[in-house]
């Protein structure tokens, strides 16, 4: 190896470029592992919030309002004297729950609809995809406002509003993925064996289309959390005094001097979204053999 490299002046550095397996793995999946760790940490926090929180999240104590971070109140207190740290931990429950549930339900519905549309073809495809486009047209915030106006403000109502606009992108992606697989010869082979369309779709086509969908799901949870926080920020999400990150930022946003009230929930949102993005990128690299080569 080294003697060959020495014989060739044009060859790349005599040092072999090859990395050890561990180095390669770290270079490729290091960020993804970090992202996964952040998400696991937040999930543990959400589950164990009652055990970890030093105060009840709704405990109002006006005498202790707007205290800066201290050993007593790690992240300070808000206008009503509630402990920001405790509210942050409980807020993880609402934010993560809303983000994950919206994306998973939206992905399941969208995938099924897009898959059926692509597989059925002809008129059914046309009808289903035009319906999808129609849904894609709704601006989510306006729709959420309309639903909130009609059904009242609440976590579930907001999630329902998000779901209405959330599934179409999954339908679009699933349709294109199924269209690619549908033309493959192994699908024809399944037909020749005698399989009916439903079985071919579930057993052969969907398992081979699922990769990019998983990537989109992972990347999308962060997005859903931001949108939900945004809706809460606008006063459309949770009902006060439920702790929620977006709502917390909103409640404390006028307080410039008391920066802690809005900053810490904002950092929490940032960390979760980044965690999901890192994880999603890692999964995409792992599923894409071309990206794996490097």
């Amino acid at each position: 190896m080294s003697e060959l490299a020495a014989a060739a002046p044009v060859a790349a550095p005599a040092e072999p470029r090859r990395l050890t397996a561990a180095q390669r793995w770290r270079r490729r999946y290091g960020l993804a592992t970090l992202g996964g760790a952040i998400i696991v940490l937040w999930i543990i926090v959400a589950i164990a919030a009652p055990l970890l929180a030093p105060y009840p999240p709704d405990l109002v104590d006006v005498t202790r309002r707007l205290k800066p971070p201290s050993s007593e109140y790690w992240f300070g207190t808000d206008m009503l004297g509630r402990d920001v740290f405790s509210r942050l931990l409980f807020g993880a429950r609402v934010s993560l729950f809303a983000g994950i549930v919206v994306v998973i339900l939206g992905a399941a519905f969208g995938t099924l609809l897009g898959g059926i549309a692509a597989y059925a073809g002809h008129r059914a495809e046309e009808a289903l995809m035009r319906f999808t486009d129609l849904m894609l047209c709704f601006p989510p915030i306006i729709l959420a406002m309309a639903i909130a106006a009609a059904m009242g403000i609440g976590t579930l109502n907001t999630m329902a509003a998000m779901l209405v606009v959330w599934w179409p992108k999954f339908a679009r992606l699933a349709r294109s993925l199924v269209l690619v697989q549908r033309g493959q010869e192994y699908v024809e082979a399944a037909h020749v064996i005698g399989y009916g369309p439903g079985r071919v779709l579930l057993k052969h086509i969907l398992p081979n289309s699922i990769g990019p969908l998983i990537v989109l799901v992972t990347l999308d949870v962060g997005h859903a959390i931001i949108v939900f926080a945004g809706l809460s920020f606008l006063g459309l999400g949770v009902v006060p005094p439920t702790p929620e990150w977006g709502a917390m930022v909103s409640e404390n946003r006028q307080l410039v001097e008391q920066w802690w009230g809005a900053t810490f929930p904002g950092l929490a949102i940032l960390s979760v979204v980044m965690g999901f993005n890192f994880l999603g990128d890692g999964i995409r690299d792992w599923l894409d053999p071309r990206a794996r080569r490097r």
Partner: protein
């Protein structure tokens, strides 16, 4: 056309006696996760000005990497680890990026295998051709456009002034390859590197492109390096051949001498594995194959790299042989022939290795499949709202009877409807008109449930071994799927026993059941596909180009397997292929399709010895034969142009637009399929007149 060749800015004539390109001991390595692949591992050759050199070898032998190394277009992971590439006295490897770029596309041109992806789909052909001409600063825009039009015309594109404004998708594969050639010649290259330029094309178009390459060589004086896996293609164009195996050059010599008496067993195997149109022994259905697969490129064998598969190996082969010249302008990397031994003719070898006697039961005469007036049109989107509805006439009235135990070959260019016909028969598609009777039952419009019991009697083998197996299922599950679905085996134990049996039947070990498709080679995957088809113990197997994406030697192995299986299980085959030599080899009867219609049906012997239809004639004459002497003497009847669009097929006889003997009658009257000789049917007004 001379004005194109000698136009302004023609290069200074190089020294006629010095080689234009010299590759010395080239080593190109590719870094992968699994280790260093020594893709090219010591290759040396030289090309004289105006010479034609062929590089032949199977996939993975390093031919394409050699070409990419010459152009310095290696992928990111590739690096040239040693050797020299001297172009007109200068080492390309020592040049800067700018210097190499000024060579590419001006002094050295390259044409790639896949004409579908080598042109930019969103830019007009004219823009791409003009850009290629002006990028090296030897033309301005106006002269570049004039030259581009002249070159397109030279490359055989009719009305180039109009066609040059088309987008690539408006051109067929053959025409795109002509555009690529025009682009390559826009700066008067001294060397053309053509990497499998005809592999993706039909035989008739291949013959046109090969003719064009030869003309370009003689008219423009450009040297050509032609890379191919097909010795016939090489023999057609090249005067000298380099044979590559496992990253090494194993033999070099003039085409004639090398094909007449190969001095390396690999060349010998390559030459004998492919059936030849001009050498056909009736009854001799098995092909000569060499055992095994090419060695692992991460870990080439220590001694002779071919020794593990070599039928002639001797003790000395444990030592790595050097490439030794043998005086007469030839050289080979083999200890066996170094001692003066010559390699035996193929036939003797077959008899010795196969040991199987011709024991095929004759076709019983009982009809298993009957097609009558079968029609399938695919509607395409209307170009505008008020345009008339359009349809691709994929299959347009096909009658065919297949008897039990026979092999019927189906040939034709792409777009002739072969694959659609296969999919109609196994009812992946539903016919628009006509009837299909299988085993006495009308299945033309049978529902999925009604046809399910018959699925056990007819199966299909697909073309692409990479796409025909579900990548997420193990080989065992793939083969077990039909067993479970049809409840053929009673329980899981019986299923896995049967899977092992089936894998054994196709020459795989039972341990293969636990592996996933990507762990197998192309040939092995095709075996899994065959095992899946055999799982239901079918009577009829429709094989849609089952070997066309495999290397020559693997092709021969699969053909032999199919023949073995037919004899042991008395199968009936409908065998679709575009390789006429292969079809002749395996088929009892052959059906020639053109634009959805049957042109001729005849026994395999009659069809090739005395074809009646002019289309059959031209198809046969387009097949290159790996024998330079035979190639020179052959009478050619090359088809001109491309097949017409199946959206609006010609009136009367479909073939008349390309037929050399078309008469006015052919345009008005559709010739019926008539039996002109016993068992030989042709749809032509003037059968046998060419």
């Amino acid at each position: 056309m001379r004005d194109v060749a000698d136009g302004a800015g023609a290069p200074p004539k190089p020294d006629r006696d010095a080689p234009i390109l010299e590759v010395r001991d080239l080593r190109t390595y590719i870094d992968t996760d699994a280790g260093v692949v020594r893709a090219v591992d010591g290759v040396s050759f030289s090309v004289m000005p105006g010479e034609t050199l062929g590089i032949v070898g199977e996939s993975g032998s390093g031919k394409s990497v050699t070409a990419l190394s010459i152009m310095k277009l290696l992928p990111e992971q590739g690096r040239i680890a040693g050797g020299e590439i001297v172009f007109r006295g200068r080492d390309i490897l020592g040049m800067t990026g700018d210097e190499v770029r000024s060579l590419r596309g001006s002094r050295i041109a390259m044409v790639f295998q896949d004409p579908m992806t080598s042109l930019n789909p969103v830019r007009r052909v004219s823009d791409q051709l003009v850009e290629a001409a002006i990028v090296h600063g030897r033309h301005d825009k106006a002269s570049a456009l004039r030259r581009a039009i002249a070159l397109l015309g030279r490359m055989g594109i009719s009305s180039p002034e109009r066609q040059i404004n088309s987008y690539p998708h408006q051109f067929s594969g053959g025409m795109r390859q002509r555009v690529m050639l025009a682009m390559g010649f826009s700066n008067d290259p001294l060397l053309l590197l053509a990497d499998e330029p005809t592999t993706a094309l039909d035989v008739t178009i291949q013959a046109q492109i090969l003719d064009l390459l030869r003309e370009l060589n003689s008219d423009f004086g450009a040297a050509i390096i032609l890379i191919s896996h097909d010795l016939g293609v090489i023999a057609n164009v090249c005067r000298r051949v380099v044979v590559m195996y496992a990253g090494e050059e194993v033999e070099e010599g003039t085409t004639e001498a090398l094909l007449a008496s190969p001095r390396h067993p690999y060349t010998w195997a390559l030459l004998n594995a492919a059936p030849r149109l001009d050498r056909y022994t009736p009854g001799q259905r098995r092909l000569t194959t060499i055992e095994g697969t090419p060695p692992d490129p991460l870990n080439w064998p220590k001694g002779c790299r071919f020794a593990p598969r070599c039928p002639f190996k001797i003790e000395k082969c444990a030592e790595h042989p050097p490439l030794l010249p043998s005086g007469d302008g030839r050289s080979s990397r083999c200890w066996v022939t170094q001692g003066g031994r010559s390699l035996p003719p193929a036939a003797a070898q077959v008899a010795a290795t196969s040991g199987l006697v011709w024991s095929r039961p004759a076709a019983t005469g009982e009809t298993i499949l009957e097609l009558e007036g079968l029609v399938k049109h695919f509607s395409v989107p209307k170009p505008s709202l008020f345009a008339p509805r359009q349809a691709v006439h994929a299959v347009d009235g096909v009658d065919l009877t297949v008897r039990k135990g026979e092999t019927v070959g189906l040939v034709g260019e792409s777009g002739s409807g072969k694959s659609t016909l296969a999919r109609l028969i196994v009812r992946i598609h539903e016919p628009d008109a006509g009837t299909i009777r299988f085993a006495g039952q009308d299945i033309t419009h049978a529902s999925g449930a009604a046809i399910r019991p018959l699925r056990r009697r007819m199966q299909m083998i697909f073309q692409d071994p990479y796409a025909s197996l579900n990548p997420r299922m193990t080989a065992g599950d793939i083969v077990a799927e039909p067993l479970r679905f049809h409840g053929i085996t009673a329980d899981e134990a019986a299923t896995s026993a049967r899977v092992g049996e089936l894998l054994g039947l196709v020459g795989l070990s039972p341990s293969a059941a636990a592996k996933y498709p990507h762990e197998f080679s192309g040939g092995q995957r095709q075996r899994i596909s065959i095992a899946r088809a055999l799982a239901v113990s079918p009577d009829l197997i429709v094989a849609d180009e089952p070997i066309s994406s495999l290397d020559v030697n693997i092709q021969a192995q699969i053909i032999n397997l199919l023949i073995d299986l037919q004899e042991r299980l008395s199968l009936t085959y409908l065998f679709i292929a575009h390789d006429l030599a292969v079809v002749r080899h395996v088929s009892d009867r052959i059906v020639v399709l053109y634009l959805g219609k049957v042109m001729e049906i005849a026994s395999s012997g009659n069809l090739f010895d005395q074809p009646l239809h002019p289309y059959t004639r031209s198809l046969i004459s387009a097949v290159p034969i790996p024998d330079a002497a035979v190639e020179r003497q052959r009478q050619r009847m090359h088809l001109q142009g491309e097949p017409p669009s199946a959206l609006a097929p010609p009136s009367g006889c479909r073939f008349r637009t390309r037929c050399p003997i078309a008469a006015p009658r052919c345009a008005s009257e559709m010739p019926p399929l008539v039996e002109h000789r016993p068992g030989q049917w042709a749809a032509c007004h003037f059968p046998g007149q060419v």
